[in-house]
């Protein structure tokens, strides 16, 4: 079973910019953003939120059941087309990545309703998965880590295929926490920019179907290498030398057998906090990747927490299929101490492989190398 190749065969996403990958890609290429001002929270703030009415309408198209939470509806809608096209066997797992699940349940109802296994099981039950879902809750790397974990489990021979869904919703719970860290930007976030001042929160769901086989007559994405290494430095501040990210990327590239010049673009984490972006710039330079076109998608979607790693991977895959780079929205002037080749225009480029990275509270970092194959 060793040396088995694992592919992403299909993907989907549900965001304020659309309910499928094509609409999302078109929206970001034309510079649209989901970020807008909101007065619904303790203080006025910019966030990126899916419209409840529109979401409910879309959900009605696939089910009349009304008891699902917003997060669950988004996850179900993201998974739906993937489940329709691929079968769920007795052994097929569902990986669910989320940081806070239905955290709003803490306000209203039983504390136990906020357990992460609840939304995961509700989504699994909707589709009739036999296996209990596997929840990955590893801060903001969860969505990307889920891909690495699922790929490793398939390589171990535990499964032949897997569904992965990632999602998080905007909540006062999380917003207030980031405010206490003085980490929320007053204006829409500006990753890597000299005037960046913090994050913009967002919500989204994304899903992928992966297996050890290529699907014929379409392009597939090979999960070529991965790494998920801790900084071992501080629980909220990233390592000043980018140790964990550096090691994660190095591990992924080593496994993939890929040199820096062979990476066509980087979809980085870019939360737009002063420290995160600086740390990434340092790690990227240490690896000799500073000339590779790079973006953060958080200027379009905000920081979608547990969804971000997977959502941004899904967009990067589409970018690779279309051979067109997605600009790094919000970026004007470089504001980190090391050079980065931040993507300014939606230019055409032959894309064969890309690097996706994520970092999060607790000192975690994840990096994956993906390669387009026919």
């Amino acid at each position: 079973m060793d040396g088995n190749e694992v592919y992403i065969n299909q993907s989907n996403c549900v965001t304020p910019l659309g309910f499928d990958v094509k609409s999302n890609f078109e929206a970001v290429i034309s510079g649209k953003t989901g970020i807008q001002k909101s007065e619904d929270y303790h203080q006025p703030v910019h966030i990126s939120k899916t419209e409840d009415e529109l979401l409910n309408q879309k959900f009605l198209e696939i089910s009349k059941e009304s008891h699902f939470s917003k997060l669950e509806k988004m996850m179900i809608l993201a998974l739906h087309p993937l489940v329709q096209q691929n079968s769920i066997g007795k052994n097929t797992p569902l990986f669910v990545s989320t940081t806070k699940g239905n955290i709003e349940a803490l306000k209203a109802s039983e504390k136990a309703d906020a357990l992460l296994s609840k939304p995961a099981q509700n989504v699994a039950d909707f589709f009739g998965f036999t296996q209990k879902p596997i929840v990955i809750s590893n801060a903001c790397v969860s969505g990307l880590l889920a891909v690495a974990v699922a790929k490793r489990m398939i390589q171990a021979g535990a499964y032949q295929n897997a569904f992965i869904v990632a999602g998080d919703v905007v909540s006062e719970f999380v917003l207030s926490g980031f405010h206490s860290f003085q980490a929320v930007s007053e204006l829409p976030c500006k990753p890597y920019d000299a005037h960046r001042s913090g994050i913009t929160l967002g919500e989204a769901a994304a899903a992928v179907y992966i297996s050890s086989e290529k699907i014929k007559n379409q392009q597939n994405i090979l999960i070529k290498g991965d790494g998920s290494v801790n900084d071992a430095n501080h629980i909220s501040g990233p390592s000043r030398t980018g140790e964990g990210l550096y090691k994660s990327i190095a591990s992924a590239m080593e496994e993939a057998g890929v040199k820096p010049a062979e990476v066509d673009f980087i979809s980085a984490h870019g939360t737009a906090t002063p420290y995160n972006d600086e740390m990434e710039a340092i790690a990227i330079n240490r690896l000799g990747l500073q000339n590779i076109p790079l973006h953060s998608l958080k200027g379009y979607y905000g920081h979608t927490l547990g969804a971000s790693g997977l959502l941004e991977t899904v967009l990067a895959i589409e970018s690779a299929f279309q051979n067109r780079l997605i600009p790094s929205k919000g970026f004007e002037t470089l504001g980190v101490t090391k050079p980065l080749n931040v993507i300014r225009n939606a230019e055409e480029k032959e894309i064969h492989r890309f690097l996706k990275t994520a970092s999060g509270f607790g000192g975690c970092n994840t990096a994956v190398i993906f390669e387009k194959v026919n």
Binding site: N138, N230, A232
Partner: protein, 205 residues
């Protein structure tokens, strides 16, 4: 592939008892709160680590279990490339409740960064990484109950791929004074075989 690796040491913490490799290693009057219990264990271990007192209960539980295990091993963990693969049922719910209380009303709205940072279960891993300087692979999973099969396959695969030399795996669960930790060290040599059956046996021990 599962027969390649072994479990060399395991630690269980249940209801104010600590077991090391199946033998009782420490116990206190069961009427103690977790705060009091954790302080007793900290002192018993001879720890001098002020950051301990800033941690939430979940992280304290994880650190005490890890310290007990590493002390017994007698090696310096940082040179051993030990991956961290932990899991639980409640994620960080205990601390989530505290954070929610701090923002319960518009008038008394004072979220605390020291509380908020612990509203993620993987911080427990982060604290262990920091204390023992483990710049290694790590992942935190949430299951309804201890999932020996998943952990054993994942850990074996990680070691097999060369991304780690050893792995500290297990279950660290804390919610509202109910707590339980079961962690074990996976490596090439060891007394017990590293497989689902053995892990389940040691867990229930």
């Amino acid at each position: 592939m599962n027969t390649e690796y072994h479990i060399s040491t395991f630690v269980s913490i249940k209801k104010n008892f600590i077991f090391l490799n199946g033998e009782k290693w420490f116990s206190v009057d069961t009427k103690m709160s977790f705060s009091e219990f954790s302080k007793s264990v900290y002192k018993h271990l001879g720890m001098e680590y002020p950051k301990f007192y800033k941690m939430d209960h979940l992280s304290k539980l994880g650190i005490l279990a890890a310290e007990t295990l590493f002390n017994h091993q007698g090696f310096s963990p940082e040179k051993e490339e030990i991956a961290l693969i932990l899991s639980n049922k409640s994620s960080s719910l205990d601390t989530d409740v505290k954070h929610q209380e701090s923002i319960a009303t518009a008038d008394e709205f004072f979220p605390s960064p020291a509380v908020f940072v612990y509203t993620l279960a993987n911080i427990c891993l982060g604290e262990i990484s920091i204390k023992y300087n483990l710049q290694t692979e790590n992942a935190f999973f949430v299951f309804e109950q201890m999932n020996a099969e998943f952990l054993s396959i994942y850990a074996s695969q990680l070691l097999h791929s060369g991304k780690a030399k050893k792995a500290l795996c297990g279950w660290v669960e804390y919610y509202d004074e109910n707590f339980e930790a079961f962690i074990y060290l996976v490596e090439k040599q060891g007394k017990f075989a590293h497989n689902t059956e053995t892990i389940e046996k040691l867990y229930k021990h």
